[in-house]
Amino acid sequence: MAPGEAFGFLGPNGAGKTSAMRMIGATSPVTDGYLRVLGLDPESEGVELRARLGVVPQEDTLDQDLTVADNLFVFGRYFDLPKRVLRERIAELLEFVQLTERRNAKVDPLSGGMKRRLVIARALINDPELVLLDEPTTGLDPQARHALWERLYQLKRRGVTQLLTTHYMDEAEQLCDRLVIMDQGRIVAEGSPRALIGTHVSREVLELRFDDGRQDDAAATLGRLDDGGPVERIESLPDRLLVYTPDGDAAIRAVHELDLDPLTLLTRRASLEDVFLRLTGRQLID
């Protein structure tokens, strides 16, 4: 990975992302195969490796017995950082995650977004070369998510390398320069979000909903259209029909010409969700 790069693992829950993260973070034994992180072996050089990593676990593992600032202080001491350095760095980090006013507050009453920002500050206390973020915005409300994404983007601009897992395709598109798509412990594709979409699916998607029982007929009708026409591929989901197309407007015209009469009709840009669906035949979030 290049310095300042953000690399993502995208996959549904249970795809093996957290396990992979724990092995990379040297908090879990490596089950099989060869793994080197920052040139170190997590098994035998775990201490040295963890000293150079920052970890944002999926669950906020903040210390409830300590204040906001003490959470950072105590954690910094785990890295043997001198107190003078820590005091300086804590002020800076609290500013960065916008928690300066809460520095002497207890941890428990903080909102979910604040807690997550504090965990991010904690992960940065040792000025890590690589930050591991496991599902950084799971469980946060939309506003808090956007605020967090903005902070992570700032972090990237400062040259901090990030490795993150997510099962939100919008998060992966927002944050990752490069990502792998994981499914059932396997990597099924790798590349930048744009390249993945370009390689595996068409530019636009038409989403159609029909009355009960009419979806299959409509899929069959659309499927009979010529190759090279507006319809590249059709994906039938339980509740809707996805029509992959290079040109959304042309596809809508085709639907009307065929008198398919959908209940609702929507064109959107193809996303990583579609890539995942294409590669695994399943949806990211069930």
Binding site: A51, T61, V74
Partner: protein
């Protein structure tokens, strides 16, 4: 941030890890607990009172009924002088056990404190050792205050009594080591009732309140199996100034049990946390 970080990097000399210090980063856990205690110190201080209440009730109250008993060297000593060392030993046992069981279990299962620690360079072994040191430090504070009160009440006839402090630490080490080991086997809070069911008979039947001679011959050896019995003998020996080689045997038993507990705990701690 980058400028300050760079200066911090210089200040720490980059990331040189020094694994060869004897206690490693265990002391960092102690620092953590000290900071955490800024909130819970009242509870800590209140822990001083229970053994004191027992001291007054038994040393003064029951002491008035009993009068004198046979001490370690066969001489008659006031009951208060006899029972105070035992209560000090028992409070060292309770301190070491509670700190290493309930508090560690809470951090392990409920507070998830160690999950975060593990993402830092601190190792499971250092966590276990750190918690043990912490338990000893707390026990030390309790032992010092208990010894002072006993001396004020005139229950410490010899200057050898100062040796009760290292003796209390040894008892704390023994029970904190065993306690950490037991904690790695606990499943839920309900198991703590079982720990209490073990501690209470130890407290009551380890020659704490009367010499073993009260028991029939056949029962005495059972009491000698109790680790607290060895603690009581040791503290009573030094606090009454009756030093003998037999005390080294008590020291050996306590040290051995504590070491066994700690080494099992360290091994299981790693497996429990790094899964």
């Amino acid at each position: 941030m980058s400028a300050a970080s760079a200066s911090a990097q210089r200040a720490t000399g980059g990331w040189r890890i020094t694994p060869h210090r004897p206690l490693g980063r265990s002391v960092r856990l102690v620092e953590r607990n000290l900071r955490a205690m800024r909130r819970g110190w009242t509870l800590f201080v209140s822990g001083l009172f229970e053994p004191m209440f027992y001291l007054f009730a038994l040393g003064v109250g029951v002491g008035g009924l009993v009068g004198e008993v046979v001490g370690p060297e066969g001489e008659l000593i006031p009951y208060g002088v006899f029972v105070a060392p035992a209560l000090l030993a028992a409070s060292a046992m309770n301190g070491g056990t509670y700190e290493s069981t309930i508090n560690v279990f809470a951090k392990l299962k409920w507070g998830k404190v160690y999950d975060a620690v593990l993402t830092s360079p601190v190792t499971p072994r250092e966590i276990a050792v750190g918690e043990l040191i912490w338990a000893l430090m707390r026990g030390w504070v309790y032992a010092v205050s208990f010894l002072v009160i006993s001396a004020v009440l005139g229950l410490v006839p010899s200057w050898w009594g100062l040796l009760a402090l290292p003796a209390a630490s040894l008892i704390g080490f023994c029970f904190a080591g065993l306690g950490l080991m037991v904690t790695t086997f606990l499943r839920s809070w309900q198991d703590f009732d079982l720990i209490e069911l073990v501690l209470l008979p130890l407290f009551l039947f380890s020659a704490t309140f009367y010499p073993l001679e009260v028991y029939p011959e056949a029962v005495r050896w059972i009491a000698q199996v109790s680790p607290l019995y060895h603690g009581v003998e040791l503290v009573r020996g030094v606090m009454t100034g009756s030093l003998s080689w037999a005390l080294l045997g008590n020291v050996a038993v306590l040290a051995a049990l504590g070491s066994i507990g700690l080494s099992v705990a360290v091994r299981r701690f790693g497996r429990l946390l790094r899964s």
